[in-house]
């Protein structure tokens, strides 16, 4: 039993290392090659875990080979447009100026239900509102709406940003612990934090569950609930 236990831990660590080597991109939307690698790794890892007749290295070598191949192929696709086209494919336009490209939909085996679902997910309920709908290489639908249907933006209304509008609030205290980097990000000091907490009736950051603050020192405090 201990053999299986330790093998599982070792393979877990190797897979985590592998995913770290592949980078954050791997954890989000998957390109076809990345999906293949992810499926293969999950299958290969189970073999040496389940079957102690398989040497551990028989699982480690293929996992590391797949991870490294993925990194090398990613580097290749970064440099070469042709390689990118072969490995990841091209984005395809499904709707152009409110008109559906039915031939492209057949090529992609994209049903009308799939299309409508993706449109609704993007908060578009009328095809006529769509200027461009593009199926990305990850299979996700990106939509560019016609000008009449676009959400109003600050630039359309000629609004100027107020100070602090372009810097989102940061977490200053998380579950009783002060995050020094966030304090620095907000250009604030520990003294300000102590004073603010006192003003709000708290003696210590340990009493706070969550505190967020922006660069204008506008803060929100959520008190920690007592354990029952």
């Amino acid at each position: 039993m201990f053999v299986i236990f330790f093998r599982t831990i070792i393979l877990y660590l190797i897979i985590v290392l592998g995913l770290r080597i592949m980078g954050k991109r791997q954890l989000g939307e998957l390109q076809p090659a990345e999906l293949v690698v992810t499926i293969l790794i999950s299958n290969i890892a189970t073999l040496p875990i389940e079957d102690t007749n398989v040497p551990l290295i028989g699982g480690v070598i293929p996992i590391l080979t797949l991870v490294c191949s993925e990194v090398l192929v990613s580097a290749l696709t970064l440099k070469s447009k042709t390689a990118r086209k072969i490995i990841s494919g091209n984005p395809k336009i499904l709707i152009r100026d409110g008109k559906i490209d039915q031939k492209e939909m057949r090529n992609l085996r994209f049903s009308i239900d799939d299309l409508m679902e993706q449109l609704r997910t993007n908060k578009v309920f009328n095809i006529q509102d769509v200027a461009f709908a593009i199926v990305e290489t990850t299979g996700k639908l990106s939509i560019y709406q016609k000008f009449d249907s676009q959400n109003v933006t600050a630039s359309m209304l000629n609004l100027t940003a107020r100070p602090g509008d372009e810097a989102p609030p940061a977490i200053i205290i998380s579950d009783g612990k002060v995050i020094d980097d966030s304090l620095k990000y907000c250009n604030l000091r520990q003294e300000w934090l102590d004073k603010t907490l006192k003003q709000n009736g708290y003696d210590s950051p340990k009493e706070i569950f969550l505190m967020t603050c922006n660069r204008e020192a506008n803060y929100t405090i959520v008190k920690k609930e007592k354990k029952k």
């Binding site: 080597i21 007749n53 398989v54 590391l64 080979t65 991870v67 990194v71 580097a75």
Partner: protein, 126 residues
């Protein structure tokens, strides 16, 4: 680019490890087959004491290489060779020469099979 070079390093490491294990397996195979052939030669020459001595040497040699081979060869094949090795000495002590020779030949075939199945040739790859 850090990841790219790290991947290249890991690939180089894996290639080096594969070459090392293949080389280790080749040397082990040659060493074992030499001993097996020598034992068979002694039996054919009716030199039982020399065969007994060489069989002990073969058993010791196998005990030495088994823990190393188990790290990169499927355990089922190693287990089979281990069970054959365990039978050799008793068969010789009880003078069951025909069974002894059959087991010796089986061991030779298995050692060669392990080597052949690890070589990255066309048959093994496809």
């Amino acid at each position: 680019m850090k990841r790219f070079y790290f991947s290249l390093f890991i690939i180089a490491l894996m290639v080096a490890l594969s070459i090392f294990t293949l080389n280790h397996l080749y040397k082990t195979k040659n060493q074992l087959i030499e001993k097996i052939d020598s034992i068979a030669f002694s039996i054919q020459g009716n030199d039982k004491s020399a065969a007994a001595q060489k069989t002990k040497e073969l058993t010791d040699a196998w005990k030495q290489v088994e823990p190393q081979m188990i790290r990169y060869v499927r355990h089922s094949e190693i287990d089979l060779i281990t069970s054959i090795v365990a039978r050799l000495e008793p068969l010789l002590i009880y003078q069951n020469t025909s069974e002894f020779m059959a087991n010796l030949n089986e061991m030779r075939t298995m050692v060669e099979h392990v080597w052949e199945s690890e070589v990255p040739n066309f048959t093994n790859l496809f």
